[in-house]
């Protein structure tokens, strides 16, 4: 039963981290696809940085920010709390490394929605928020769903950054990949094999969800029927 702890912790960490990266990723993708921002490429670079950084470097950066002497760590200290070496730190690490995947999927999904449909909604009297809720988001949903699945998988597999800011404390911050590492290092083959099996099942579930999302996004999303000469004109929002 000892081996169940890291599995449950990993699921909990990945679920919370995916929820955070979904909110942030969708918000940022919407911002980047609809607004003219002066230093857009800098902001986008920052979002995508954890994807190209080695995870331990990302972890070290997070440690500098969230540690006792870091700006956020000091702020938390003044409020009488800390985040490093808690499961919350594992959530932060997983959310940061999975955000680029979520952001890119959401951005591609939002850009894939025909802007003329949004224009049509504008002429029907809908405001921008309602257009996003009723038109853009439902049509972008398959891509967003793929983003959720991939981010969840990335969060489950997070190792380097988690080790840096959350440590490898059994029962507290030891997630599935860390427990697998410890089991192999300690020569506990049965435990390591169990973690391998669980990870494989989760990976298959993710692949299935992504496949399902892709197949759902394939049918004519513009409502085009056989006798209509569809000529997508790209995104609207030209005002």
């Amino acid at each position: 039963m000892r081996s169940l702890g890291p599995i449950l912790l990993s699921l909990r960490v990945a679920a919370v981290a995916t929820a955070i990266s979904l909110v942030l990723g969708l918000l940022l993708a919407r911002l980047m696809t609809t607004r003219r921002l002066p230093c857009k490429f800098v902001l986008e670079g920052l979002i995508l940085l954890p994807m190209v950084f080695p995870p331990t470097i990302t972890g070290y950066l997070l440690l500098l920010l969230l540690g006792k002497r870091g700006p956020i760590g000091q702020l938390l200290g003044m409020m009488g709390t800390k985040i490093v070496f808690t499961w919350g730190a594992a959530v932060v690490a997983s959310a940061v490394v999975s955000l680029p995947l979520m952001y890119q999927n959401c951005k591609a999904a939002l850009l894939g929605v025909d802007g003329r449909l949004e224009d049509a909604a504008r002429t029907l009297g809908l405001g921008e928020r309602r257009i996003f809720r009723r038109i853009t988001l439902p049509l972008a949903l398959p891509g967003v769903l793929a983003g959720i699945a991939l981010s969840f998988a990335r969060a489950i597999g997070e190792f380097g950054a988690t080790l840096m800011i959350a440590g490898n404390i059994p029962g507290r911050t030891q997630t599935l990949p860390l427990a697998l590492y410890s089991a192999v290092e300690g020569g506990r083959a049965a435990e390591a094999n169990l973690y391998l099996a669980v990870t494989t099942v989760l990976a298959f579930a993710v692949v299935a969800v992504v496949g399902l999302a892709e197949s759902r996004s394939r049918p004519a999303r513009r409502g085009g029927s056989v006798d209509t000469a569809a000529s997508p004109r790209g995104r609207g929002g030209r005002r």
């Binding site: 025909d114 003329r116 449909l117 224009d119 049509a120 909604a121 504008r122 002429t123 029907l124 009297g125 809908l126 405001g127 009723r134 038109i135 439902p138 049509l139 049918p219 004519a220 999303r221 513009r222 409502g223 085009g224 029927s225 006798d227 209509t228 000469a229 569809a230 000529s231 609207g236 030209r238 005002r239």
Partner: protein, 211 residues
């Protein structure tokens, strides 16, 4: 009634038109790429003219001089797009209801009945024929109770027999609407059949033809 003076620089020429129409169907006729759709988009508020003034009934909806530029949702314009732009994830009834205030949504089916597609209320656009889709697009555009109806090449995607049928339906609708309609087409015979007035658009300038 619509009174519009629109100036807009386009890639190949400058659009510079004056248009006035009152309670009739005005057809903007011209070659592809002559700027017809841009005029409709400027009137609907989807594209901003470089300069000019657009007045719908007694409301100034755009004025470059006075810095007025009402968003599309505040202009009271019904727009039937060339490809209809029906929302593919919503049923026919939901497509129409979306345009209506919450308290009025039960009337969505009345609009569908009016256009003879009440029985298709639960179908999604992809499962409708070309003619049914056009009827749905018209029902949806009229559900906002517009002051002005804009039709952008709305008959061009239909096959020949459906088009003839839809012409007849439009002509009977035209009389009952009692509102100004601007219809854009590149089809000369369609312009002559459907319009009270015909304006030819050539290289960015608009000229009314004597009828």
């Amino acid at each position: 009634m619509i009174r519009a003076r629109i100036r807009k620089r386009l890639p190949r020429f400058e659009l510079d038109i004056d248009l006035e129409a009152d309670g009739c169907t005005s057809v903007l006729w011209g070659e592809s790429g002559s700027g017809k759709t841009t005029i409709l988009e400027c009137v609907a508020g989807l594209v901003r003219p470089d300069s000019g003034e657009i007045r719908l009934e007694d409301r100034l909806v755009f004025s470059s001089e006075k810095g007025i530029d009402l968003p599309p949702r505040s202009r009271g314009v019904g727009y039937v797009f060339q490809d209809y732009e029906l929302f593919p994830h919503l049923t026919a009834e939901e497509n129409v209801a979306l345009a209506m205030p919450r308290s009025e949504r039960h009337r969505a089916r009345d609009y569908l009945e009016r256009f003879g597609i009440g029985g298709l209320a639960r179908r999604k656009p992809a499962l409708l024929s070309g003619g049914e889709r056009q009827r749905l697009a018209l029902a949806r555009a009229l559900a906002v109770e517009p002051r002005l109806l804009l039709l952008d090449e709305s008959f061009s995607a239909l096959d020949r027999s459906t088009r003839q049928e839809m012409y007849a339906e439009f002509l009977s609708l035209r009389e009952s609407l009692g509102m100004s309609v601007i219809l854009v087409t590149h089809n000369r015979s369609e312009a002559e059949l459907l319009g009270h007035r015909i304006f030819e658009l050539r290289e960015g300038s608009l000229a009314e033809e004597a009828r």
